[in-house]
Symmetry: C2
Subunit: 564 residues, 2 copies
Amino acid sequence: MKIALGQINPVVGDISGNVAKIIEFANQAKAEQARLIVFPELAICGYPPLDLIFKPSFVRSNREALDYLKSQVSGIAIIVGYVDVKSRSSRKLTNAAAFIDNNKIIGRQFKTLLPTYDVFDEARYFESADEYNVFTLDDVRFGISICEDIWYEREWQQQGYTCNPMARLNELNPNLIVNISASPYVVNKEYVRSDLVKAASEKFNMPVIYVNQVAGNDELIFDGRSFVADCAGKITMVGKPFEEDLKIVEFLPESKEFTSSFSLNYQLTPQENIYKALVLGLRDFAHKCGFTKATLGLSGGIDSAVVACLAADALGASNVLGVAMPSIYSSPHSLTDAKELAKNLNIDFKVIPIDSMMQESLANFKTHAFELKNQLTLENIQPRLRGLILMALANEFNYLVLNTGNKSEIACGYCTLYGDMVGGLAVIGDLLKTGVYELARFINVRQGKKIIPPNIITKRPSAELRENQFDDEALPPYPILDKIIGYYVEEHLTVSQIEELGYNIKLVTEVINLIDSSEFKRKQSAPTLKLSKRSFGSGRKMPIAYKTRYLLEELFMQESCKVH
Amino acid sequence: MKIALGQINPVVGDISGNVAKIIEFANQAKAEQARLIVFPELAICGYPPLDLIFKPSFVRSNREALDYLKSQVSGIAIIVGYVDVKSRSSRKLTNAAAFIDNNKIIGRQFKTLLPTYDVFDEARYFESADEYNVFTLDDVRFGISICEDIWYEREWQQQGYTCNPMARLNELNPNLIVNISASPYVVNKEYVRSDLVKAASEKFNMPVIYVNQVAGNDELIFDGRSFVADCAGKITMVGKPFEEDLKIVEFLPESKEFTSSFSLNYQLTPQENIYKALVLGLRDFAHKCGFTKATLGLSGGIDSAVVACLAADALGASNVLGVAMPSIYSSPHSLTDAKELAKNLNIDFKVIPIDSMMQESLANFKTHAFELKNQLTLENIQPRLRGLILMALANEFNYLVLNTGNKSEIACGYCTLYGDMVGGLAVIGDLLKTGVYELARFINVRQGKKIIPPNIITKRPSAELRENQFDDEALPPYPILDKIIGYYVEEHLTVSQIEELGYNIKLVTEVINLIDSSEFKRKQSAPTLKLSKRSFGSGRKMPIAYKTRYLLEELFMQESCKVH
């Protein structure tokens, strides 16, 4: 039997648009003689729909979409994810899959394992399955599992959870398991995912068809990469990373084998992965919000250079405006480097200096109130004027403002709220500064020419908010800082554990105090494209008004009161 | 037996500070001959600790705090909430209560019902109890339930959840149930809470001691109001609302009666509740973040007037700076009203006009790029300059900037990101505009004089960003608008359901489109003190890049694409 993998990019909430795409893919698969096509988790409504689920009309429309789908498609069976009620009389909702054939809904399978870690919040919305089904299509007997249901061994077993949906389905003696997923990308996730599906295939001697959503939906990037694994856990076919794809495999139910074998030429290097992930995330956010154009401040530094390259790729160079906003503290190279970058990328470029606005702001204060003298105040006014300029451009011409802050800055609060923190999307907010450098070098290699002027990559980083200001005077060197941020934010290590890894305890404590006391800034930051296992976003929920004073340990943190 | 209710205000994460307070309350109760003192849910670490829980040192410190507590207090038994591991070998965590007596931890009870609705996210952190215990202290046999555990009938039964922790405890034949809570305030919550505890008392013929946290912790306000209900469900004692309190009741275990009866004179009117809630929320946020002083823009309008009154009460008038920032579009009364208000409140007052900064901004654009012409651009620059001024004051003098936006504005996006939306805390962001008027009138009645100048209350609301601009020309009249927002945001009603209630369908659709398309602004708003059952905050999780195109219903919303 020919089975198609419908790796689509749904828009959250756009049920009519998603259904139209599902029909289009189904018809294309039918034209290629597929008997069944499989779509991702919640493909009808897009993942994650979040609190849209609480609108009764939203749930009703999910069910109506199924009815419409079954009436519109014939000659090919469909497995598709959607939101359903658990039973006619129940107000409990489920993350469901429907199996449709011959204009009928043959059956449903609900999701069992509802993730509540990281960015996931499914216990807020759904109830677990308590029934398992195997469906028959010609001579194929398949069970359906939904995303997390195949993660039992990795995430649930050691927590003492006893119901393994794969085992439950296996008891019903299927000859194929279909897993429909909406599994967001984080660095190396493709290997984690294929390892766990391979392990499940092997353990149950069961072939698995795994279909994943591809999309940028707010902070989350879904990389697609659907695949099939045979009984021995061998992966014989992989869907494209970071783009829509329709793949068809031939499945022999008696031998439980896949005969079609595609070349697995989609393996990407770490930098290729990050680059493609961010381009998809940026493009989808802009387009799904209705923007065709974006603007950003081009400081002549590495962060804005990288974001400009990503934006030019995602939206087209002619749809990107870079704005240099120099001040008296800007070095001459800042302007020339920014200009050269814009020229190399062929994006629009404007120079709007901020000096006169800065002078007028200070004079206005002096005339009507008092003279501003605090160095921090004087430094923060500059990025706030730049933010005002970018937002005026956004209002005037309907640009999406791209935020160019990196994860090291936002971790340490080395950024100005309502200043360089403005923007509708933080494109590289989950890339540490060292990662931004790696990505910059990759971009130049990828293009085969020095799109990003070498001086941008080699010069000493500076915020240029006063004379002779350099990042490495306010912060530890980035290679050290980034390691500490990783250990603390991503691994939850304590000060003493980080010290044991060879870092100076005073330095570690300073960095951690910076991180903890900057929570209020991150609370108001733009949505940040997620790349790491713990980004600053919905997967990290920290209080703002708190202290960390522990009784016995870490007493040196006693006065790390969270002052803005 | 004399039992004390230790209604304390813990600081999230400040384990050593909270333990010190617990010891202080325990010693005071002992001095008043209490045999037992009961503290709120997670009193050791404050509620909600959020992802602090994922730090292994945080969990360890919770357990160490218990050990310290048992060593420091004698002569009085303690029941207190904290975070624990489920078993020595487990990495599963629990929301736990410890029973301490005679320098020993006699026993523990874990929480069963883990809320995941609204602002709650406990399935992210905790595992449920599967054992229930009754403890003996002299001749009292008591069971412990934790917050949501007593909400079974209201929230869990109709969803088909079968384990009622109250029933499980009742099987063990206690003569008293202690419930330790951290139950946030929302309007009328005190009645909901006492009704459900009364119902549980009656159903099981069981007296209940209910101890609730009092605190402002970020967006959440906890109102205290601990109480005891006898077997017949009669409430015989209530703790103070919105402040710390130590109450002692005499309990007769044989008859299961409380002999002490306090006058229940803490009933507040709806406006008193809201006023006290916001004062507590503002004060705690400021102080727990380390601020003594706050500043805010005083426009001469009703919103900033109300916030100024709340701030003066919460922080002391001498710690509040009001700043009028008039432009050429400001009416003369805006300045005089703001000035009069500041004088009435006895707060500091400055006038810093924005005209010269506005002119310089426009001239700078014209000189270096082009002339800004779009009306929206010209309007938005003004609040952004005001935001810049307030943030400069904050940087210069360490003020907390108070955001003065109301819920009607933020719902409809009638506010400027990085402009009037700046601030560390949105004080009245969960009060609809009609509610702001009610609170303003209450404040004048409460003070027995016209603190808020009558002209501020009676004049026609205006953003004053261009000539002759009035809110009711851009938005429906507030009494209508606020009803629609309530139905849509708080009740999840559909357009047609709201229409059936007597509202014009075109108007409803316009308002809903405004609400949906303003999500990106709310994503970057300040933490908002929660008063209603659905505030804009962590209890409402909406996507940004989405469409709502449903197949059959609400087709008129087809193109409500979410454009910023």
